[in-house]
Amino acid sequence: MDEEMENSALPAPDFEVLVEQHYRRLYQFAYNLTHDEAEAGDLTQQTFLKWANKGHQLRDPSKAKTWLFTTLHREFLQARRRSARFPHHELDAVASELPTVPPVSVERLDSATVLEALAQINEVFRAPLTLFYLDDYTYKEIAEILDIPVGTVQSRIARGKCHLYEILTERSSRPIDKPREPHG
């Protein structure tokens, strides 16, 4: 992404407009990565803080949204690498076979159900999947944001979706799901 920055550039999009347009989706992306409101808020703030410092250097203002998502994802990965509790898994080596695509049969979904189901999916599949659903990103755009090849994006979305469909179909066949709570 740094190669897209230069010292003299076209005027960057207005900061407040940019925040208004993208802070919700960025926060939702961050929440799906972290599963923590405070951490997601911090990540979103940090991303815009970086934009405030460096955004004016972006050569192509139309790339502002992609820049924001890319930066947020990088910040997330850096934070994770600093934390031994969340090792980064690279699954490409074991994901070479075609997935068995399950039938999907869900009739109704609310936000909480979707978030809980996504939370059960491995982090490497969750990031491209969230981008796919949140902002209708294409393979190519997701590859750019996550800095991985297009083929890898296709593979991860396919496997992530298969897993997601399985979880949702299984959930829809269960009558009640009791949320996790602190013990008494």
């Binding site: 405070a38 979103t44 703030q45 999907v104 994006v153 949702l168 008494g184």
Partner: protein, 244 residues
């Protein structure tokens, strides 16, 4: 291309996007038109995707997030139309502020309110030792005082009638944390209190802010220099019954 290969390709297809010009996706779409079974699957899949998409986009966003972002930006705002000398001075200020902000961010990430909330919630969601058996807040204060822990926390009026079962004397990066454990109608309730000085970003107001932490409903607020964190076995509506 067989049916399963077409399914894998179509799983990531965004209808209406430039993806359709991709030769592989175009072939998969043609197959979906000519293969009735694949067509039914594709339709089901798109319907499910639309529901997932809506569910994900409906996810709530903190109401004060936009203000926080805009407020933070004012600190690093620069007028690039100023003369070179002023720009140089501004650059120095920005570097200093940037370093300060970065340091604050690092501290906030490691020792901040979000991490504190998560740590405390995880403490009571796992097995934990009850260091103090107490049947009232007065008894709890006596036990905490004997251990050298602060006792000047304020119990919200809404919690005065719940049953106190005990408490704990915890530490957070060298700062003492009081824990009160309560029960009401078979449900557990917990109140953590720590000095605001223990956190780089304590809550700004006395109005409780309700947040989900690790899928558990919590509320935080600040009062008289202390940060209060409250959680209970229940949803947001249940939690709010006990908030000040």
């Amino acid at each position: 291309m067989d049916r399963e290969q077409a399914k894998e390709i179509l799983l990531g297809y965004q209808p209406g996007s430039d993806d359709a010009v991709d030769p592989q996706i175009a072939e998969a779409l043609r197959l979906a038109e000519s293969d009735p079974e694949l067509a039914v699957w594709f339709e089901q899949q798109q319907r499910a995707d639309a529901m997932i998409r809506t569910g994900l986009r409906d996810m709530p966003v903190p109401s004060d997030l936009k203000e926080r972002i805009l407020g933070e930006r004012q600190i690093v705002r620069v007028d690039f139309g100023w003369r070179r000398l002023v720009l140089a001075a501004a650059a120095v200020v920005i570097v200093v502020l940037g370093l300060a902000r970065y340091r604050t961010f690092r501290q906030t990430s490691r020792y901040g309110l979000g991490t504190y909330q998560m740590t405390m919630v995880r403490y009571v969601t796992g097995p934990y030792p009850m260091v103090a058996q107490a049947r009232s807040f007065d008894e709890l204060r006596q036990v905490l005082a004997q251990k050298g822990w602060p006792t000047d926390f304020i119990v919200p009026d809404t919690l005065r009638n719940v049953t106190v079962v005990g408490g704990g004397a915890l530490e957070w990066h060298g700062h003492k944390v009081d824990l009160a454990c309560m029960r009401e109608s078979g449900r557990g309730l917990w109140l953590f209190v720590v000095d605001n000085a223990a956190l780089p970003n304590p809550p700004a107001t006395t109005t409780p802010r309700v947040q989900m932490v690790d899928a558990v409903t919590t509320a935080v607020w600040s009062q008289d220099g202390k940060t209060y964190l409250f959680t209970a076995q229940g949803d947001e509506a249940y939690l709010r019954k006990y908030l000040p």
